[in-house]
Structures are given as structure tokens and as C-alpha cells.
Amino acid sequence: MAKIERLRDRSGAEVSPQPRQPVVEIAGLNLVFETADAPVTALSNVDLTVSHGDFVSLIGPSGCGKTTLLRVIADLQRASSGTIKVNGGSPEAARLNRAYGYVFQAAALYPWRTVLRNVTLPLEIMGMPRQERMERAARVLELVELSGFEGKFPWQLSGGMQQRVSIARALSFDPDLLLMDEPFGALDEIIRDRLNEQLLQLWKRTGKTVIFVTHSIPEAVFLSSRIVVMSPRPGRIVDIVESSLPRDRNFEIREATAFADIAHRVRLGLRHGHGSADE
């Protein structure tokens, strides 16, 4: 029960920034894929520290290794060299401890399960009693405004609703770290804006650490406390932009000068890193 309360307790109050514990520490990380003809360097000499409560966006053109980096943090991919720590231990230990919730580019719902049972899937695997599973599912579905859709199957939902179910599923076991791989990439602009705002609310309220992959500059600037700009071939970090925007922000902030300045610097970083304009 203690874990359930946490979501509620944190709501309302602004999270204090003092602990600032490092959640992810990466130093000199390289990842080389051995392919049939020649080895491909996906990540080259990546240094990055993500602290507790950060909202870090990884932005860059396709093929710059941002998804790969997220997968290394999630222990879905192994680095070739360098060090990486998640919560002070190995990524594998973090995965075995269910330290993070991962939201994929596609919703990845299991089509034979209802919305409710998709959300409770991680809870079933963790061996939570039925009563608690139901309570948690009801709460996270309410959070993503999908109450009343419990009995529907994924094919009966729109793409945006499916992605919201997948976010509810990631939140259901209340992980402190959220890894999100272009979760809104396939959605239209209107729904995307709305989900961005909801995500920001959630981050503000719960103080979770979020690592968010995107290739949209406005999305990155609007959401992030830090923006990591990456470039391809080989994937490396070209700039890390600290956001001067307040944590408590809404859509009007898009008109602010500071917003434009940050967006400009991110765009410069992308252009500098890339050299061409194919993105």
C-alpha cells in the first residue's frame, strides 16, 4: 500500500529539488554493431548524467542513436565499452528490479488482452494481488483519461488512445524512472499537444525522472529541463542545453523569448552536428 500512496502524496506539492541523486551515469560509452560487411558505430564516446527529477530529452535526426542509447539504459541492448550506471548499479540490475517504465514508439499492446488487462500485465508479472491490480489500473487509466474503456480490446481504440494505454501501463507499477521512445511520434499534432501537457503535469506532480526521445524541437523544448542534442554517424552528443524555463509551465510559454532562444540553440546544435538538412 505504501507504494500506491506515493503517487497521491506527491500530487499538488511541488517536488523539492534538493536530493538531486544521479539516476543515470554514463561515461565514455561506445556501441558498435557487428554487421555482415562492416562494423557500424551506433554510439560514440557518450557522457551523460541524468539526475533525480530531471526531464531529459534526447533529440537528433533518425539514425543518431537516441533510441539505442535509451535501450542501453533499459538493458535491452549492451554497450561495447564504457561505463553506465542506473540507480548506482548495472542496467541489468535496474531492469531486474523493475526500476523503470518503458514506453515504446508503438503502443505494443497485447491484442488478446483488454485495455484493463494490458495495464495490469506488469502487475501480474510482479505477482501483485488482484485487488491491488484493479485499484492501480483504475487510477492510472483515470490519469490518462481512459476510464470506461477497461473492457475494450486494443483494435477498438484509436492510435492516440492505444498510446495512452501504453503510458498507463508504464505508470501502473509506479517506477521512478520513465524511459519514453518517441511515444507521440505517430500521433497528430492536436493529440500530441494534449498528451505533452498531460505528461508535463504528471512529471510536475510526481517528480519522476523522465528520459524522452524525440525529433521534434518544440516538443523537446516544451517538456524538458535538459535537452541532449545528438548527431548521427557515429551517434554522439553535440550539445547539452539546460532549460531556463520554469518547471511550472503551460502552453503560453511557447510564445516566450526564452523558449525561442532555447529552440534556436537546439536547432544550431542539430545543424552543426549534422551538416546537411535531411531532417
Binding site: 535491452l76 531492469r95 523493475r98 515504446f104 505494443a108 497485447y110 488478446w112 488482452r113 508479472i125 483494435w155
Partner: protein, 303 residues
């Protein structure tokens, strides 16, 4: 008044009934023509041998007589229907003159074989999917097993099992199982490996055990592959049971009826046993299809 007529016509046009009835009618016509053609030579020979009838018979006589021979080369559909009616409805189902009795003898062996074969097929698929070396070690043998003609190996299975005291239902069930484990293994290997990388990554992030990955992902993901395999398997199981009844000259079962019919030239009996055998297979496939629809309705199938 036009609307309901229209909708009935629409339903007939778009449903399955009309196409099926059309094909059935076409088959019946071809069958009748075939019966007249195949039986005519013997009827004409009969006419020629008879001085009274010689040169006096008409085409009408010929058609009537070719369709009502006692031992025709190809019996007419109505003769088969009359025989079926006689041997199914007019005789007590417990009597060995009842075709239902023989059908049950065959069906029970087929169903036991189907159950054994399906379980074996599923077990093999689970082993192949989970142990990488088994895919290389076992799969070639699974495929090789089906290259042996079942007609050649069936008598040996019957004889070998008979020598250790196994007679009756079980040897036939083993032949059925031998035929029907194969599509189940192949279908289930495909089904158990059907989850997308994304679905596997997802459950990996929950640090699920192998058992959990199997129960929560691989097994339910295999259902769309399992049922088509089971439909093929159940039809093969009926074939297997009939083949199992042929070599020993079994006293009961549809295979025994086929054999007895061919010994005594009772073509009408052969054909009615054949028709019942295919009805049996069709009903079994239909039953599996019914279970499939029931299962898929509970697991989010669109149909």
C-alpha cells in the same frame, strides 16, 4: 413488401448458403452424368445379350437403368442417399449393420489419436522453441516422419502393437496421432515465435521469467496459428483411423466397411461409407472451428 424480399435476397447473395448450394447442385449434375456414362456400357451389354430388348431400348430406358443398378461402377447420388437412410436411420445404432456404429468406432479412434497427436505436437513445438539445439536436431526428423507413406507403415504399426497385446482402438489412434502431430508442431512453432520484437522487449523490461514469457506472451500469441493447425489435424485423424482399419481387415469401422464393400463389389456401400467419412471429417473440423470462435471472442478477435 419489397424491403424484406430484398434483404432476404441480399442475405442469400452475400452469405455462404447460395454459393455452397450452387456448387452442390453442379456436383450433383456432374455425378449423375458421370454415373450414366460409366454405367452405360454394362447396361448396353445387358440389353444386347437379351433377345427381347435387343435394338428396342430407348435412351430413357438407358438413363433409368444406369441410375438403378445393383452393383454400378458409380452409383447415383440418390442410391447413396437411400443406402445411407437405410443403414443410418432404419437400423439400431448399436447393431453392426448400422453405419453409425461403424462411424463411431472410427471416430472414437480418430478423436483419441487427435488428442494424443495434438498434445505431442504442442509439446514438441514448446521444446523446439525453447531449446535452440532442438530446432536443428528435431525439426528435420519431424519433417522426415511425414515423408514415409502412411499406407506402408500403418500395417507394421498394427502388427507390432498387436504383438505386444495392443489391439482395437489404440493402434488406430496411434496412426491418427502420427498423421496429426505434424501440422500442430509446425503451426505451433510458428505461433510460439510469432510475438514481435517489441512485445518481447516489453515483457523483458518487467524482468519476466521464461515461464511468464511463455504464459503471458508466447502461448496466447500462438492461438491464431494453433486452431488452423488443429483443423487440418482433426481431418487427418479421421483419415488415419480409416487407414488403420484397412490392413487388418478390422471387423468394425468405416475402413472395414470400405474393405468389405470392395471385396463384394458393393459399390453403393463403399460410397455411403465414403460420404459418411467425409461428413465425419467435416463435422470434426466444424467443431474445432466452433471452439476457435469461442476462444477468439474471449481474446479480442475481430470476427
Amino acid at each position: 413488401m419489397a424491403a424484406p424480399m430484398n434483404s432476404a435476397w441480399e442475405r442469400l447473395r452475400h452469405g455462404h448458403t447460395l454459393p455452397i448450394l450452387t456448387i452442390l447442385a453442379a456436383l450433383a449434375i456432374v455425378w449423375y452424368l458421370g454415373a450414366i456414362w460409366l454405367n452405360s456400357q454394362r447396361v448396353i451389354d445387358g440389353y444386347e445379350a437379351d433377345d427381347e430388348l435387343k435394338n428396342k431400348w430407348t435412351t430413357g430406358d438407358l438413363i433409368r437403368d444406369t441410375l438403378s443398378m445393383e452393383r454400378p461402377v458409380l452409383p447415383a447420388p440418390d442410391q447413396v442417399v437411400v443406402e445411407l437412410d437405410h443403414s443410418v436411420l432404419e437400423v439400431a445404432p448399436t447393431s453392426n449393420r448400422s453405419l453409425l456404429y461403424h462411424a463411431w468406432v472410427t471416430l472414437s479412434a480418430a478423436l483419441v489419436g487427435f488428442a494424443l497427436g495434438s498434445l505431442l505436437g504442442i509439446a514438441l513445438a514448446i521444446a523446439i522453441v525453447h531449446v535452440a539445439t532442438l530446432e536443428r536436431a528435431l525439426l528435420p526428423w519431424v519433417i522426415a516422419s511425414q515423408t514415409i507413406p502412411i499406407l506402408a507403415i500403418a500395417p507394421m504399426i498394427i502388427v507390432v502393437l498387436g504383438s505386444i497385446g495392443l489391439v482395437g482402438l489404440l493402434p488406430k489412434a496411434f496412426i491418427s496421432a502420427y498423421l496429426c502431430f505434424f501440422p500442430v508442431t509446425i503451426g505451433m512453432v510458428k505461433g510460439l515465435t510469432s510475438p514481435e520484437p517489441l512485445q518481447l522487449d516489453l515483457i523483458r523490461t518487467y524482468s519476466a521469467s521464461r515461464g511468464q514469457i511463455f504464459r503471458k506472451l508466447r502461448w496466447p500469441a500462438s492461438f491464431p496459428f494453433l486452431f488452423p493447425s488443429l483443423k487440418i489435424a482433426v481431418a487427418l485423424a479421421v483419415v488415419g483411423a480409416i487407414v488403420g482399419e484397412l490392413p487388418t481387415g478390422a471387423a468394425a469401422g468405416l475402413g472395414a466397411r470400405l474393405l468389405a464393400g470392395s471385396y463384394y463389389g458393393q459399390t453403393v456401400q463403399i460410397w455411403s461409407a465414403l460420404v459418411l467419412a467425409s461428413l465425419l471429417a467435416a463435422l470434426s473440423v466444424g467443431a474445432v472451428g466452433w471452439v476457435e470462435r469461442l476462444t477468439l471472442r474471449h481474446t479480442g478477435g475481430e470476427g
